[in-house]
Amino acid sequence: MTFPVLATLLTGGLAALDAVPVAQTLFSQPLVTASVLGWAWGEWRVALEVGVVLQVLAASTQPVGARTPEDYASGGVTGAGLALALASQQSLAIARDGCALVGVLAGMVTALGGVPLVRWQRRRNEALSRWCEAELRRGHEGALAQSHRAAVVLAFAVGVGYSAVSLGLGFWVLRRWVDFESLRLTHAWSVAEPLWLGLGLAQMLHAFVQRRLSRAALFGAALIATWLALMVGAP
Protein backbone atom coordinates (compact mmCIF):
# COMPACT_ATOMS: atom_id res chain seq x y z
CA MET A 1 0.00 0.00 0.00
CA THR A 2 3.04 2.28 0.23
CA PHE A 3 3.25 3.15 -3.49
CA PRO A 4 -0.43 4.13 -3.92
CA VAL A 5 -0.35 6.29 -0.77
CA LEU A 6 2.85 8.06 -1.84
CA ALA A 7 1.43 8.52 -5.36
CA THR A 8 -1.74 10.03 -3.83
CA LEU A 9 0.23 12.54 -1.74
CA LEU A 10 2.47 13.47 -4.69
CA THR A 11 -0.64 13.96 -6.83
CA GLY A 12 -2.04 16.21 -4.05
CA GLY A 13 1.07 18.40 -4.22
CA LEU A 14 1.10 18.56 -8.03
CA ALA A 15 -2.62 19.33 -8.17
CA ALA A 16 -2.18 22.16 -5.65
CA LEU A 17 0.55 23.59 -7.90
CA ASP A 18 -1.50 23.28 -11.07
CA ALA A 19 -4.67 24.78 -9.59
CA VAL A 20 -3.33 28.34 -9.39
CA PRO A 21 0.46 28.82 -9.05
CA VAL A 22 1.84 26.85 -12.02
CA ALA A 23 0.53 26.56 -15.59
CA GLN A 24 -3.21 25.97 -14.84
CA THR A 25 -3.38 23.01 -17.23
CA LEU A 26 -6.44 21.49 -15.44
CA PHE A 27 -4.31 18.58 -14.17
CA SER A 28 -5.84 19.60 -10.81
CA GLN A 29 -9.40 18.79 -11.96
CA PRO A 30 -10.95 15.88 -10.02
CA LEU A 31 -11.47 13.63 -13.07
CA VAL A 32 -7.81 13.94 -14.09
CA THR A 33 -6.41 13.28 -10.61
CA ALA A 34 -8.94 10.45 -10.10
CA SER A 35 -7.65 8.83 -13.32
CA VAL A 36 -4.07 9.07 -12.04
CA LEU A 37 -5.10 7.57 -8.68
CA GLY A 38 -7.18 4.87 -10.38
CA TRP A 39 -4.02 3.78 -12.16
CA ALA A 40 -1.87 4.03 -9.00
CA TRP A 41 -4.30 1.97 -6.87
CA GLY A 42 -5.23 -0.42 -9.71
CA GLU A 43 -8.96 0.25 -9.10
CA TRP A 44 -10.51 2.29 -11.88
CA ARG A 45 -14.23 1.87 -11.15
CA VAL A 46 -14.31 3.54 -7.73
CA ALA A 47 -11.80 6.21 -8.79
CA LEU A 48 -13.83 7.22 -11.85
CA GLU A 49 -17.16 7.11 -9.98
CA VAL A 50 -15.80 9.63 -7.47
CA GLY A 51 -13.96 11.58 -10.18
CA VAL A 52 -17.05 12.07 -12.37
CA VAL A 53 -19.26 13.33 -9.52
CA LEU A 54 -16.62 15.72 -8.14
CA GLN A 55 -15.82 16.88 -11.69
CA VAL A 56 -19.38 17.95 -12.54
CA LEU A 57 -19.52 19.82 -9.23
CA ALA A 58 -16.06 21.41 -9.71
CA ALA A 59 -16.75 22.55 -13.28
CA SER A 60 -18.98 25.37 -12.07
CA THR A 61 -16.51 26.83 -9.54
CA GLN A 62 -14.64 29.59 -11.35
CA PRO A 63 -11.37 31.23 -10.27
CA VAL A 64 -12.44 34.66 -11.51
CA GLY A 65 -10.94 37.90 -10.13
CA ALA A 66 -10.04 37.91 -6.45
CA ARG A 67 -12.68 35.29 -5.55
CA THR A 68 -11.28 32.24 -3.76
CA PRO A 69 -13.10 29.23 -5.20
CA GLU A 70 -13.47 25.88 -3.43
CA ASP A 71 -10.22 23.92 -3.40
CA TYR A 72 -11.27 21.05 -5.69
CA ALA A 73 -7.60 20.27 -6.39
CA SER A 74 -7.15 18.92 -2.85
CA GLY A 75 -10.82 17.87 -2.70
CA GLY A 76 -10.47 15.69 -5.79
CA VAL A 77 -7.31 13.99 -4.56
CA THR A 78 -8.66 13.44 -1.03
CA GLY A 79 -12.05 12.23 -2.30
CA ALA A 80 -10.71 9.69 -4.77
CA GLY A 81 -7.76 8.73 -2.53
CA LEU A 82 -9.96 8.09 0.51
CA ALA A 83 -12.52 6.12 -1.51
CA LEU A 84 -9.74 3.97 -2.97
CA ALA A 85 -8.06 3.42 0.40
CA LEU A 86 -11.39 2.37 1.97
CA ALA A 87 -12.32 0.21 -1.04
CA SER A 88 -9.01 -1.64 -0.78
CA GLN A 89 -10.19 -2.89 2.67
CA GLN A 90 -13.49 -4.24 1.31
CA SER A 91 -13.76 -7.80 0.11
CA LEU A 92 -17.26 -7.43 -1.42
CA ALA A 93 -17.42 -5.52 -4.73
CA ILE A 94 -20.91 -4.17 -3.91
CA ALA A 95 -19.60 -2.49 -0.75
CA ARG A 96 -17.25 -0.32 -2.82
CA ASP A 97 -20.07 2.01 -3.88
CA GLY A 98 -20.37 2.98 -0.21
CA CYS A 99 -16.68 3.94 -0.29
CA ALA A 100 -17.39 6.15 -3.32
CA LEU A 101 -20.12 7.97 -1.36
CA VAL A 102 -17.80 8.59 1.58
CA GLY A 103 -15.07 9.70 -0.85
CA VAL A 104 -17.30 12.28 -2.56
CA LEU A 105 -18.50 13.68 0.79
CA ALA A 106 -14.92 13.88 2.07
CA GLY A 107 -13.85 15.52 -1.20
CA MET A 108 -16.46 18.24 -0.86
CA VAL A 109 -15.61 18.88 2.81
CA THR A 110 -11.91 19.08 1.87
CA ALA A 111 -12.70 21.47 -1.01
CA LEU A 112 -14.64 23.79 1.33
CA GLY A 113 -12.05 23.49 4.10
CA GLY A 114 -9.24 24.37 1.68
CA VAL A 115 -10.56 27.89 1.06
CA PRO A 116 -9.05 29.46 4.24
CA LEU A 117 -5.76 27.72 3.49
CA VAL A 118 -5.62 29.21 -0.01
CA ARG A 119 -6.47 32.64 1.47
CA TRP A 120 -3.66 32.25 4.01
CA GLN A 121 -1.15 31.52 1.21
CA ARG A 122 -2.36 34.56 -0.73
CA ARG A 123 -1.96 36.82 2.31
CA ARG A 124 1.51 35.40 2.87
CA ASN A 125 2.40 36.22 -0.72
CA GLU A 126 1.58 39.88 -0.03
CA ALA A 127 4.54 40.13 2.34
CA LEU A 128 6.67 38.25 -0.18
CA SER A 129 5.85 40.68 -2.98
CA ARG A 130 6.59 43.72 -0.80
CA TRP A 131 9.92 42.19 0.18
CA CYS A 132 10.70 41.42 -3.45
CA GLU A 133 10.01 44.97 -4.63
CA ALA A 134 12.21 46.42 -1.87
CA GLU A 135 15.02 44.02 -2.79
CA LEU A 136 14.73 44.90 -6.48
CA ARG A 137 14.96 48.61 -5.66
CA ARG A 138 18.13 47.78 -3.74
CA GLY A 139 19.53 46.15 -6.91
CA HIS A 140 19.08 42.52 -5.84
CA GLU A 141 17.77 41.04 -9.09
CA GLY A 142 17.72 37.45 -7.81
CA ALA A 143 14.87 38.35 -5.43
CA LEU A 144 12.31 37.62 -8.17
CA ALA A 145 13.51 34.05 -8.65
CA GLN A 146 13.75 33.55 -4.87
CA SER A 147 10.18 34.77 -4.34
CA HIS A 148 8.83 32.47 -7.00
CA ARG A 149 10.77 29.49 -5.66
CA ALA A 150 9.45 30.17 -2.16
CA ALA A 151 5.82 30.51 -3.32
CA VAL A 152 5.97 27.32 -5.42
CA VAL A 153 7.59 25.28 -2.64
CA LEU A 154 5.00 26.58 -0.15
CA ALA A 155 2.08 25.70 -2.47
CA PHE A 156 3.45 22.19 -3.07
CA ALA A 157 4.09 21.61 0.64
CA VAL A 158 0.62 22.87 1.58
CA GLY A 159 -0.93 20.63 -1.09
CA VAL A 160 0.91 17.51 0.11
CA GLY A 161 0.33 18.35 3.78
CA TYR A 162 -3.37 19.12 3.42
CA SER A 163 -3.98 15.99 1.34
CA ALA A 164 -2.06 13.88 3.88
CA VAL A 165 -3.99 15.27 6.87
CA SER A 166 -7.40 14.97 5.12
CA LEU A 167 -6.68 11.45 3.93
CA GLY A 168 -5.25 10.25 7.24
CA LEU A 169 -8.03 11.79 9.30
CA GLY A 170 -10.73 10.54 6.92
CA PHE A 171 -9.37 7.01 6.88
CA TRP A 172 -8.96 6.88 10.66
CA VAL A 173 -12.43 8.31 11.43
CA LEU A 174 -14.47 6.62 8.69
CA ARG A 175 -12.94 3.15 8.27
CA ARG A 176 -14.95 1.41 10.97
CA TRP A 177 -18.16 3.17 9.91
CA VAL A 178 -17.67 1.99 6.31
CA ASP A 179 -16.91 -1.56 7.54
CA PHE A 180 -20.11 -1.79 9.60
CA GLU A 181 -22.51 0.15 7.40
CA SER A 182 -21.30 -0.68 3.91
CA LEU A 183 -24.72 -1.85 2.65
CA ARG A 184 -26.55 1.23 3.87
CA LEU A 185 -23.85 3.44 2.41
CA THR A 186 -24.14 1.63 -0.93
CA HIS A 187 -27.88 2.26 -0.87
CA ALA A 188 -27.28 5.94 -0.03
CA TRP A 189 -24.89 6.16 -3.03
CA SER A 190 -27.70 5.03 -5.34
CA VAL A 191 -29.75 8.00 -4.04
CA ALA A 192 -27.00 10.61 -3.87
CA GLU A 193 -25.17 9.91 -7.16
CA PRO A 194 -28.01 10.95 -9.53
CA LEU A 195 -28.81 13.96 -7.33
CA TRP A 196 -25.19 15.15 -7.46
CA LEU A 197 -24.87 14.52 -11.20
CA GLY A 198 -28.10 16.44 -11.80
CA LEU A 199 -26.95 19.36 -9.63
CA GLY A 200 -23.57 19.57 -11.38
CA LEU A 201 -24.88 19.15 -14.93
CA ALA A 202 -27.51 21.83 -14.33
CA GLN A 203 -24.73 24.26 -13.33
CA MET A 204 -22.85 23.44 -16.54
CA LEU A 205 -26.00 23.84 -18.61
CA HIS A 206 -26.66 27.21 -17.01
CA ALA A 207 -23.10 28.32 -17.87
CA PHE A 208 -23.50 27.32 -21.53
CA VAL A 209 -27.09 28.37 -22.25
CA GLN A 210 -26.95 31.85 -20.64
CA ARG A 211 -30.71 32.37 -21.21
CA ARG A 212 -30.37 31.97 -24.98
CA LEU A 213 -33.35 30.15 -26.42
CA SER A 214 -31.39 28.73 -29.38
CA ARG A 215 -28.91 27.04 -27.04
CA ALA A 216 -31.69 25.66 -24.86
CA ALA A 217 -33.24 24.22 -28.04
CA LEU A 218 -29.86 22.74 -29.02
CA PHE A 219 -29.63 21.09 -25.59
CA GLY A 220 -33.14 19.62 -25.89
CA ALA A 221 -32.59 18.40 -29.45
CA ALA A 222 -29.25 16.75 -28.54
CA LEU A 223 -30.81 15.05 -25.50
CA ILE A 224 -33.79 13.64 -27.43
CA ALA A 225 -31.74 12.63 -30.49
CA THR A 226 -29.10 10.82 -28.39
CA TRP A 227 -31.72 9.11 -26.25
CA LEU A 228 -33.60 7.92 -29.36
CA ALA A 229 -30.36 6.77 -31.00
CA LEU A 230 -29.42 4.83 -27.86
CA MET A 231 -32.85 3.22 -27.47
CA VAL A 232 -33.42 2.42 -31.16
CA GLY A 233 -29.82 1.36 -31.73
CA ALA A 234 -29.87 -1.04 -28.77
CA PRO A 235 -30.48 -4.69 -29.64
Partner: protein, 250 residues
Protein backbone atom coordinates in the same frame (compact mmCIF):
# COMPACT_ATOMS: atom_id res chain seq x y z
CA UNK B 1 13.35 50.72 -35.38
CA UNK B 2 15.12 47.37 -35.61
CA UNK B 3 13.96 44.66 -33.26
CA UNK B 4 16.30 44.10 -30.33
CA UNK B 5 14.30 41.32 -28.76
CA UNK B 6 15.08 37.88 -30.12
CA UNK B 7 12.83 34.91 -30.69
CA UNK B 8 14.34 33.04 -27.72
CA UNK B 9 13.49 35.98 -25.43
CA UNK B 10 9.83 35.73 -26.45
CA UNK B 11 9.86 31.93 -25.96
CA UNK B 12 11.38 32.34 -22.49
CA UNK B 13 8.70 34.90 -21.64
CA UNK B 14 5.98 32.51 -22.83
CA UNK B 15 7.41 29.70 -20.69
CA UNK B 16 7.77 31.96 -17.66
CA UNK B 17 4.17 33.11 -18.01
CA UNK B 18 3.25 29.66 -16.59
CA UNK B 19 4.31 31.11 -13.23
CA UNK B 20 2.25 34.29 -13.62
CA UNK B 21 0.07 33.32 -10.66
CA UNK B 22 2.74 31.65 -8.49
CA UNK B 23 2.86 34.61 -6.10
CA UNK B 24 -0.79 35.69 -6.52
CA UNK B 25 -1.89 37.89 -3.62
CA UNK B 26 -4.72 40.27 -2.76
CA UNK B 27 -2.56 43.39 -2.92
CA UNK B 28 -0.86 43.13 -6.33
CA UNK B 29 -2.55 39.99 -7.67
CA UNK B 30 -0.32 38.87 -10.61
CA UNK B 31 2.14 41.78 -10.28
CA UNK B 32 5.18 39.79 -9.20
CA UNK B 33 4.53 37.02 -11.72
CA UNK B 34 4.20 39.65 -14.43
CA UNK B 35 7.66 41.05 -13.62
CA UNK B 36 9.10 37.50 -13.59
CA UNK B 37 7.64 36.73 -17.03
CA UNK B 38 8.85 40.04 -18.48
CA UNK B 39 12.39 39.65 -17.09
CA UNK B 40 13.94 37.99 -20.23
CA UNK B 41 12.91 41.01 -22.32
CA UNK B 42 14.25 43.50 -19.76
CA UNK B 43 17.51 41.51 -19.50
CA UNK B 44 17.98 42.05 -23.23
CA UNK B 45 16.89 45.69 -23.33
CA UNK B 46 18.61 47.10 -20.24
CA UNK B 47 22.24 45.97 -19.94
CA UNK B 48 22.75 48.13 -16.84
CA UNK B 49 21.79 46.22 -13.69
CA UNK B 50 20.47 49.22 -11.74
CA UNK B 51 18.18 50.47 -14.50
CA UNK B 52 16.93 46.93 -15.12
CA UNK B 53 16.13 46.43 -11.44
CA UNK B 54 14.27 49.74 -11.41
CA UNK B 55 12.12 48.63 -14.38
CA UNK B 56 11.51 45.24 -12.78
CA UNK B 57 10.43 46.90 -9.53
CA UNK B 58 7.99 49.09 -11.50
CA UNK B 59 6.46 46.00 -13.08
CA UNK B 60 5.79 44.33 -9.70
CA UNK B 61 2.86 46.76 -9.25
CA UNK B 62 -0.77 45.58 -9.42
CA UNK B 63 -1.71 43.62 -12.51
CA UNK B 64 -4.50 41.14 -13.14
CA UNK B 65 -6.01 39.44 -16.14
CA UNK B 66 -7.05 35.98 -17.28
CA UNK B 67 -3.74 34.02 -17.06
CA UNK B 68 -3.76 32.51 -20.57
CA UNK B 69 -4.58 35.83 -22.23
CA UNK B 70 -1.77 37.51 -20.28
CA UNK B 71 0.64 36.27 -23.00
CA UNK B 72 -0.80 38.80 -25.44
CA UNK B 73 -0.33 41.64 -22.96
CA UNK B 74 3.21 40.46 -22.15
CA UNK B 75 4.22 40.60 -25.82
CA UNK B 76 2.64 44.03 -26.30
CA UNK B 77 4.33 45.48 -23.20
CA UNK B 78 7.70 43.94 -24.20
CA UNK B 79 7.37 45.85 -27.49
CA UNK B 80 6.65 49.07 -25.59
CA UNK B 81 9.63 48.46 -23.30
CA UNK B 82 11.78 48.05 -26.41
CA UNK B 83 10.66 51.49 -27.62
CA UNK B 84 11.14 52.93 -24.16
CA UNK B 85 14.69 51.59 -23.96
CA UNK B 86 15.35 53.34 -27.29
CA UNK B 87 14.01 56.60 -25.78
CA UNK B 88 10.68 56.59 -27.71
CA UNK B 89 8.13 54.69 -25.65
CA UNK B 90 5.69 55.71 -22.89
CA UNK B 91 6.85 56.73 -19.42
CA UNK B 92 6.02 54.87 -16.19
CA UNK B 93 2.49 56.27 -15.97
CA UNK B 94 1.79 55.56 -19.63
CA UNK B 95 3.01 51.99 -19.21
CA UNK B 96 0.73 51.54 -16.19
CA UNK B 97 -2.26 52.80 -18.17
CA UNK B 98 -1.54 50.47 -21.11
CA UNK B 99 -1.16 47.48 -18.76
CA UNK B 100 -4.38 48.32 -16.96
CA UNK B 101 -6.38 48.76 -20.19
CA UNK B 102 -4.98 45.61 -21.77
CA UNK B 103 -5.47 43.58 -18.58
CA UNK B 104 -9.16 44.54 -18.26
CA UNK B 105 -9.96 44.01 -21.95
CA UNK B 106 -8.20 40.64 -22.08
CA UNK B 107 -9.83 39.50 -18.83
CA UNK B 108 -13.30 40.36 -20.16
CA UNK B 109 -12.75 38.13 -23.19
CA UNK B 110 -10.58 35.48 -21.51
CA UNK B 111 -12.84 34.84 -18.52
CA UNK B 112 -15.76 34.16 -20.84
CA UNK B 113 -13.74 31.95 -23.19
CA UNK B 114 -11.61 29.98 -20.74
CA UNK B 115 -13.41 29.94 -17.39
CA UNK B 116 -17.08 30.07 -18.42
CA UNK B 117 -16.93 28.12 -21.69
CA UNK B 118 -13.85 26.04 -22.41
CA UNK B 119 -13.29 24.73 -18.88
CA UNK B 120 -16.85 23.38 -18.42
CA UNK B 121 -16.78 22.15 -22.02
CA UNK B 122 -13.57 20.17 -21.44
CA UNK B 123 -15.06 18.82 -18.19
CA UNK B 124 -18.16 17.73 -20.10
CA UNK B 125 -16.03 15.95 -22.74
CA UNK B 126 -14.14 14.10 -19.98
CA UNK B 127 -17.31 13.16 -18.10
CA UNK B 128 -19.03 11.94 -21.28
CA UNK B 129 -16.02 9.79 -22.24
CA UNK B 130 -15.94 8.28 -18.74
CA UNK B 131 -19.69 7.62 -18.67
CA UNK B 132 -19.34 5.90 -22.04
CA UNK B 133 -17.00 3.39 -20.41
CA UNK B 134 -13.62 4.83 -21.33
CA UNK B 135 -10.72 5.18 -18.89
CA UNK B 136 -9.38 8.11 -20.87
CA UNK B 137 -11.94 10.72 -19.83
CA UNK B 138 -9.38 12.53 -17.66
CA UNK B 139 -6.88 12.64 -20.52
CA UNK B 140 -9.63 13.81 -22.90
CA UNK B 141 -10.48 16.68 -20.55
CA UNK B 142 -6.84 17.67 -20.21
CA UNK B 143 -6.10 17.56 -23.95
CA UNK B 144 -9.29 19.36 -24.94
CA UNK B 145 -8.45 22.32 -22.69
CA UNK B 146 -4.72 22.48 -23.32
CA UNK B 147 -5.01 22.44 -27.08
CA UNK B 148 -6.32 26.00 -26.89
CA UNK B 149 -4.76 27.07 -23.56
CA UNK B 150 -1.14 26.11 -24.31
CA UNK B 151 -1.30 27.25 -27.95
CA UNK B 152 -2.41 30.72 -26.95
CA UNK B 153 0.07 30.84 -24.07
CA UNK B 154 3.01 29.92 -26.32
CA UNK B 155 2.13 31.95 -29.42
CA UNK B 156 0.36 34.82 -27.67
CA UNK B 157 3.59 36.59 -26.67
CA UNK B 158 4.72 36.70 -30.32
CA UNK B 159 1.32 38.04 -31.44
CA UNK B 160 1.33 40.69 -28.75
CA UNK B 161 4.87 41.73 -29.64
CA UNK B 162 4.06 42.07 -33.36
CA UNK B 163 0.73 43.86 -32.90
CA UNK B 164 1.64 46.07 -29.93
CA UNK B 165 -1.04 47.59 -27.65
CA UNK B 166 -3.57 47.22 -30.51
CA UNK B 167 -3.25 43.43 -30.21
CA UNK B 168 -6.87 43.15 -29.14
CA UNK B 169 -8.13 44.71 -32.35
CA UNK B 170 -11.48 44.04 -33.98
CA UNK B 171 -10.25 40.99 -35.92
CA UNK B 172 -8.87 39.06 -32.94
CA UNK B 173 -11.77 40.12 -30.74
CA UNK B 174 -14.24 38.83 -33.35
CA UNK B 175 -12.35 35.55 -33.69
CA UNK B 176 -12.27 34.97 -29.91
CA UNK B 177 -15.94 35.88 -29.54
CA UNK B 178 -16.83 33.46 -32.33
CA UNK B 179 -14.86 30.72 -30.58
CA UNK B 180 -16.62 31.48 -27.26
CA UNK B 181 -20.01 31.31 -28.98
CA UNK B 182 -19.13 28.03 -30.71
CA UNK B 183 -17.94 26.42 -27.47
CA UNK B 184 -21.13 27.58 -25.74
CA UNK B 185 -23.32 26.03 -28.45
CA UNK B 186 -21.34 22.77 -28.53
CA UNK B 187 -21.37 22.68 -24.73
CA UNK B 188 -25.18 23.02 -24.60
CA UNK B 189 -25.51 20.07 -26.98
CA UNK B 190 -22.88 18.07 -25.09
CA UNK B 191 -24.75 18.42 -21.78
CA UNK B 192 -27.85 17.06 -23.57
CA UNK B 193 -25.86 14.08 -24.88
CA UNK B 194 -24.39 13.46 -21.40
CA UNK B 195 -27.83 13.42 -19.76
CA UNK B 196 -29.15 11.03 -22.44
CA UNK B 197 -26.18 8.70 -21.84
CA UNK B 198 -26.88 8.85 -18.10
CA UNK B 199 -30.54 7.97 -18.64
CA UNK B 200 -29.89 5.04 -20.95
CA UNK B 201 -26.24 3.95 -20.98
CA UNK B 202 -25.66 1.60 -23.91
CA UNK B 203 -29.40 1.61 -24.67
CA UNK B 204 -30.46 0.10 -21.30
CA UNK B 205 -32.80 2.42 -19.44
CA UNK B 206 -31.77 3.16 -15.87
CA UNK B 207 -34.31 2.42 -13.10
CA UNK B 208 -37.12 4.96 -12.74
CA UNK B 209 -35.80 5.95 -9.31
CA UNK B 210 -32.45 6.95 -10.85
CA UNK B 211 -34.16 8.94 -13.61
CA UNK B 212 -36.45 10.70 -11.11
CA UNK B 213 -33.55 11.61 -8.80
CA UNK B 214 -31.52 12.89 -11.76
CA UNK B 215 -34.47 15.08 -12.79
CA UNK B 216 -34.80 16.39 -9.21
CA UNK B 217 -31.07 17.15 -9.15
CA UNK B 218 -31.28 18.97 -12.50
CA UNK B 219 -34.27 21.05 -11.42
CA UNK B 220 -32.63 21.93 -8.08
CA UNK B 221 -29.37 22.73 -9.87
CA UNK B 222 -31.07 25.17 -12.24
CA UNK B 223 -32.65 26.96 -9.26
CA UNK B 224 -29.35 27.01 -7.33
CA UNK B 225 -27.48 28.34 -10.40
CA UNK B 226 -29.34 31.65 -10.06
CA UNK B 227 -28.28 32.15 -6.44
CA UNK B 228 -24.86 33.30 -5.32
CA UNK B 229 -25.03 31.77 -1.86
CA UNK B 230 -24.79 29.14 -0.53
CA UNK B 231 -22.32 27.79 -3.10
CA UNK B 232 -23.25 24.81 -5.32
CA UNK B 233 -20.77 22.71 -3.30
CA UNK B 234 -22.64 23.52 -0.08
CA UNK B 235 -25.92 22.51 -1.76
CA UNK B 236 -24.34 19.27 -3.01
CA UNK B 237 -23.01 18.52 0.46
CA UNK B 238 -26.50 19.11 1.84
CA UNK B 239 -27.97 16.77 -0.81
CA UNK B 240 -25.45 14.10 0.26
CA UNK B 241 -26.44 14.32 3.92
CA UNK B 242 -30.15 14.30 3.01
CA UNK B 243 -29.54 11.08 1.02
CA UNK B 244 -27.78 9.53 4.02
CA UNK B 245 -30.62 10.56 6.33
CA UNK B 246 -33.23 9.22 3.89
CA UNK B 247 -31.57 5.80 3.83
CA UNK B 248 -30.94 5.70 7.59
CA UNK B 249 -34.38 6.82 8.73
CA UNK B 250 -36.49 6.06 5.66
Amino acid sequence: MTSRLRREDLVRMALRSSLLQATWNYERQQGLGWAWALQPALDRLYPGSLERCERLAEHTAFFNTQPTMASLALGAVAGLEERRAAGEGPDTDGMRRVKSALGSALAALGDRLFWFSLRPFAACVGVLLTLSGSRWGGLGLWLCYNLVHQSLRLWGVGWGYREGPEVLGAALRRRLERLTRLVGQLGSALVGVTIAVLLAPGGDSRPVSFQALLAIGLAAGLVVAHRGRPSPTAWALGAGFVSLAAVWFG
